[in-house]
């Protein structure tokens, strides 16, 4: 259980009070490797200065006004190519900030907000401006195929959330991730998540297949489930969800519809 809570931290813990510490130096200055390095050092772990730990990561997000509850921390981790939840190594930081040309909290929040708007909420791409606050070449690439880009983020999240030695992620983690990744664009997922959360003793873990089929389900099946093929190759979890959703008897609802 203890691992579960730490895994959940980046997006389920309440924001730390802003007064807890003073803002880092050079918060709004343009990119320079030195500034990036300084920023890293500012949030680096007290015990291990080569890594930003969960606490530092949370402070970074809070200071940059990146909300901890949504997909934003995940997007940031994705952009860094982070290997573990709530941890950014020095090397990941250097590579990530260099290619995005970011070294200020403002730029950080801009990167995350742009991607969140584009991929999580499915909004139209930003208009190109003459002068950008950071290197947007990656962003324009994502715009070319939003679906494929989202799939990259989505697939990243499975590997990211999965303990290295395991094939699966715990179901509570999976539903938390689906809530922030899929629910905004696919409201039906809030019901799926609710369905699963009521049956956590039955569904203990999500494997890679379930993870990828869940996105497939969102992308291809009509939200009213009318075209769901119950004899298709869907995971049994989704079969059971659809059965529960469609069968009035199975819902345990006492009010009958005639």
């Amino acid at each position: 259980a203890s691992t579960t809570t730490t895994i959940n931290e980046p997006f389920s813990m309440p924001a730390a009070p802003a007064t807890a510490h003073s803002p880092p130096p050079g918060a709004n200055d343009p990119y320079s490797p030195a500034r990036s390095q300084a920023l890293f050092n500012f949030y680096a772990d007290d015990d291990d200065s080569s890594v930003i730990g969960p606490e530092g990561y949370e402070r970074l997000c809070t200071d940059a006004k990146i909300p901890l509850e949504g997909a934003a921390p995940l997007i940031l981790a994705w952009q860094f190519g982070a290997k573990e939840m709530g941890r950014v190594t020095k090397d990941e930081w250097r590579k990530g900030t260099e290619s995005l040309k970011i070294s200020s909290l403002y730029a950080f929040s801009l990167v995350v907000r742009d991607l969140e708007s584009l991929l999580i909420f499915g909004n139209a791409p930003e208009k190109k401006a003459k002068k950008e606050a950071y290197n947007k070449s990656a962003y324009w690439k994502y715009c070319e195929d939003k679906k494929a880009s989202f799939r990259k983020l989505y697939t990243f999240c499975f590997v990211f959330a999965k303990p290295e030695q395991s094939r699966n992620i715990e179901m509570e983690t999976a539903t938390a991730l689906w809530s922030v990744l899929l629910v905004p664009q696919y409201p039906v997922m809030s019901e799926v998540v609710e369905f699963i959360n009521e049956r956590l003793t039955e569904y203990k873990a999500a494997n890679r297949d379930l993870w990828s089929m869940m996105l497939e389900f969102c992308e291809t099946v009509d939200p009213n489930l009318s075209d769901y093929e119950s004899d298709g190759a869907w995971p049994t979890l989704l079969d059971n969800f659809v059965l529960w959703k469609k069968g009035p008897a199975a819902t345990g609802d006492t009010s009958t519809t005639d």
Binding site: R208, D209, G232, A233, T236, D239
Partner: protein, 759 residues
Amino acid sequence: MASASTRPMPARSADLDETWAFLNDGVDLIMTRLETGLSFPAYTNLYTTVYNYCTSTRMSGKMDGNRTGANLVGSDLYSKLSAYFVEHFKPMIQKCDSLQDIDLLRYYAAGWDRYTTGANFLNRLFTYLNRYWVKRERDEGKKTVYPIYTLALSQWRDVFFRQIQKDDRKLTTAVLRLITQQRNGESIDQGLVKKVVDSFVSLGLDNADLNKECLDVYKEHLELPFLEATEDYYKKEADSFLATNSVSDYLKKVEERLREEEDRVERYLNTKTRKELINKCDDVLIRYHSDLMWDSFQNLLDFDKDEDLQRMYALLARIPEGLEPLRKRFEIHVKKAGLTAVSKLVEAGDGGADSIDAKAYVDALLEAHRKNSEIVARSFKGEAGFAASLDKACREFVNRNAATGSSSTKSSELIAKHADMLLRKNNKMAEEGDLEAALNRVMILFKYLEDKDVFQTFYTTKLSKRLIHGVSASDESEASMISKLKEACGFEYTNKLQRMFTDMSLSKDLTDSFKERMAQNHDDMDITFSIMVLGTNFWPLNPPPHEFVIPIEIVPTYDRFQKYYQTKHSGRKLTWLWNYSKNELRTNYLNQKYILMTSSYQMAVLLQYNRNDTMSLNELVTATSITKDIMTQVLALLVKAKILINEEREQYDLNPNFKSKKIRVNLNLPIKADVKAESADVLKAVDEDRKYVIQATIVRIMKARKTMKNQGLIQEVISQISQRFAPKIPDIKKAIETLLEKEYIERVDGSKDTFAYVA
């Protein structure tokens, strides 16, 4: 003869009038008074006259080179003859006007006989005309010119027959009336009818090919009206018969009627009529009343009316749609019979479905099967459709009935239990043959079991008990049953069972060789010892779930065997199944020496009293490591048998005054908890096994096919496994998910419902 010679034979050169005048007399004699006789010279004269006339060359001047005289002059004679027939019929027509029914038929038939006989004579008389003039005319396309016999027939038809039939088809009516009379049970002159009917057939002429049978007259004047009359007659008869008689009687009636009609065709109708007549009868007698028959079917089944069922089957089999409703009803009937038999049994028992007796259960199922399979064989001639209905119904009630409730495994359990009872020593089967027959009957039900794997697991468990407790009736019967199972389900199904027998015989040898070795090396072996070494993978046996302190009395033997076995098979691990072992103890503390037959747990307890006269429950538990709950049950049995006395709470004393009528006292009775736990264990094992079987099957299929669609894969899995049990689709899908997770298979990119084998 006199009349034929009144005129002299005309000269060779005689003209038509003269010639015909001579011929006319002869023709008339042949046609009207042949019975008065015609001498050979007279006949020859007539023949010669025809010949002379036909070959006279009087008119050869008019002919062109190709034609001989006969070709032309034949026409005159032909016309004269035609005209003669018309005259000939005049008095006959008149006579017929005044005749009806049988009189008419008699007159007609007599006339027909005389006429056709005469016409045959004429045909020969005019051979020359036929051979040349008629042939040439027909060759040139004049198909309405006939040889003389045919001419006679066609004249009969056109002039005489049509005249009689003109208004109300007097002949047809008369024939049909006779047939009706016969159907009503009166006897009629069938020869007369046949003659008349045959004449109708003869009157059909195919102008293009006179040798070809032509039934148009027969069809128009007899067959069609006959079929109509038949329909009419049987419609009325069926309705009125059914109004006052049972369906059973009706079936008999129809059977009789159909036979009669077949006979009728044989006796006096043209065989070509058979098909339509039978169709008509099938229609009117069977198809029109098939609803009624279908509805009465249940009643016949309920009252075991075998013969009526046979009849109904035979009759309805005549119409294509006739049997299917029976098959469906039969299936429902059989299913109900099976279900009712079991329900009665459950109601009769006092413990409900749980305490149902396996033998009574099997007998009830078998009886339902036997009775109905006999019906299929006897009343439905073993017809495949009915056999299928029987099988379907049996599969239903054998797997799901009042005794099974919602459990899909109960039936397998009960049938396996029954088989166990049969194969035990005390089965009360008088003869070997009886046992064999009883096992064959078990196989009848086995065939219908859906969850053959559950049966297998129960059977294996029961067999293991029979073998380790030495209570099997005979090796032959065991082998016979296994070979039956093997025949039904294949080698794999019985592999474990056969391995168990191998272990048994190896164990016997091992015990012997161990004894021999011990006899050589030690002289203190006063414990008779025998061992069974059973392969872990083949025997459904679990070691005790707790420690067991081996009593010091048997430790030497235990150690010696351990050592002996390790030298024989180094590296093999022996797990001692104390919970299945048994012992015999000799009492030395009583006046009478008894032999106590015990379980190893009882032995461990009793041996404690070699050193103590009284022991507490806790002391016993500590001394043996047997868990408290099992210990309590072990002690309860010993107290009940009065070996131990339990006067104080949790305190057990050896009874110094133990007495028994028998010298050998069997204390080794099953502990209740064991029995109950057994079923649950079996079912759990089955469940686990199924998961494995499904996964293994998927892997096997995928390995062979490389890629497969979800649907196809599921179907293939079902078809491969259904021999052993009916896999549920969600279970198959779960197995697929497990294999995806373990990366034995993967989804094919771009086609999410296709799986590929990962090598």
